[in-house]
Amino acid sequence: MLMCLAIPACVEQLINENYAVVNLGGIRKEISLALVEDVVLGDYVIVHVGFALQKLDQIEAERTLAMFAEISTLNQEDI
């Protein structure tokens, strides 16, 4: 089992203000929301040892992926 393990999962069900069920690739797990705020259905959170550590900023995620891809476009132009 990994200590430094944290994965992004989708909030599928809010149980109460402190707990939610997240979905990762079809696997569902109950986790604690004690460390985050204003989580709504459909949000992605980073999960570590049963707790949501932070909301994943989906716009930033897309931007990061675009940055990787942009590099490849630049790469082609350079050549």
Partner: protein, 382 residues
């Protein structure tokens, strides 16, 4: 899996690798240290070294909280577990750490000690609720990522009025580790560990934010790029570090913008500040005594502090003479430089903590990378 698979695509990896190869200055070497167990694991698991040019070296720093835990504290935990009436709850990785006599929590469990593996601090609370006749001690370790969950557990215990739940606190702080390495003789004067920049830890930064690293960039003139935990994140961070060095910059950049904010997770930080305070000094395996590098439970929460409730002597136990974990944790030596690596010390029979934890440099190299030692004359990893 969304936000995981897209960050692992091989085609993008090739593109970034090509960019790294073209931008890395062939006249010099680059040495980057990562100090995040997740990064150590990702680098090995995905074979990232294969995609880097020979002059870019990755050094594993003290990013594995299991690896930096001194044997004395493990010994303390074993003795607690062996005390009648105590149930010790622990994360999985600690169970196999060997002490000087070859004992471990797992062996103690086989001999009858009540030791329960937990995935979360919340599980330890449940065990305390279900076993009111027993004292339940939660063996808490980890950097800033894992500390907030322990804080939540203590708050919960207080709210539930649990008087049989305590925490044996071994939480440590990342910036202290970096400082210590940067200030060490080996780095500052002797130049034994050439360090050009840092790959900032992923999840620690989610909690503490990117601001705490600005001090290092400024004081030691080393760039820091905080990287996400997927392999594309690591590759991108390496590219960003190379660019900083090539243009003479030493700044903090954030590659992991989807989860790391400059100030981090304030709610988690507030909770930690409420429960914990700094220890004046704490022993780290491999680094020795480091000031203001670890946390202890505040006196107002003393009812949940195992060190207040039980006799837990300070044990300073030296490593096995042949064990090079200390040097490896500081980045001074590589796993393959240790005389007992792969022979006496293996994952089946670990002598030191770097081999026990799957995030440890030695375990990672043994499991994923040692074929390179035999196949190539020079290893790509450092």
């Amino acid at each position: 899996m969304k936000y995981i698979d897209e960050f692992r695509t091989g085609t993008l990896a090739q593109k970034i690798a090509t960019k790294i190869a073209s931008e890395a200055n062939t006249q010099r070497d680059y040495h980057f240290m990562e100090f995040c167990g997740g990064h150590t694991h990702a680098i090995s698991r995905f074979g990232i070294s294969d995609l880097l040019p020979d002059n870019v070296h990755l050094i594993h720093g003290p990013g594995c909280p299991v690896c930096v835990l001194p044997i004395g504290r493990v010994e303390n935990a074993i003795r607690l577990a062996q005390t009648p009436g105590i149930i010790l709850c622990s994360y999985g990785d600690m169970l196999r750490i060997p002490t000087a006599t070859g004992m471990s929590l797992l062996k103690a469990k086989a001999q009858g000690a009540d030791i329960r593996m937990v995935y979360s601090s919340a599980d330890a609370i449940k065990i305390a609720q279900n076993n009111p006749q027993h004292q339940v001690v939660f063996f808490a370790i980890g950097f800033e990522t894992t500390t907030p969950p322990t804080a939540v557990a203590i708050k919960q215990a207080q709210a539930l009025g649990l008087n049989n739940f305590t925490v044996f606190c071994n939480h440590v702080l990342t910036p202290s580790a970096i400082s210590h390495i940067l200030q060490s003789a080996e780095v500052r004067q002797l130049g034994i560990v050439p360090l050009d920049g840092f790959i900032g830890p992923a999840h620690v930064s989610v909690v503490i934010g990117s601001q705490p690293y600005e001090y290092f960039a400024e004081e030691f003139q080393k760039p820091v790029v905080i990287a996400g935990f997927e392999p594309l994140d690591v590759m991108q961070a390496i590219l960003m570090l190379i660019r900083q060095i090539n243009t003479g910059r030493a700044e903090v950049e954030n590659e992991f913008t989807r989860a790391v904010l400059p100030k981090g997770n304030l709610k988690a930080q507030r909770l930690v500040a409420e429960i914990f305070e700094l220890r004046r000094i704490f022993e780290w395996r491999g680094l020795g005594l480091v000031p203001y590098s670890a946390l202890k439970i505040k006196s107002c929460y003393a009812g949940f502090d195992a060190e207040q409730r039980f006799q837990i002597p300070a044990l300073s136990i030296a490593d096995n003479k042949a064990c090079e974990c200390g040097a490896i944790l500081r980045g001074v030596k590589r796993p393959q430089d240790c005389k007992i690596f792969g022979t006496v010390c293996t994952p089946e029979n670990p002598i030191g903590s770097c081999m026990v934890s799957s995030e440890g440099a030695c375990a990672a190299h043994y499991s994923y990378g040692r074929f390179r030692d035999t196949n190539h004359a020079t290893s790509k990893e450092n």
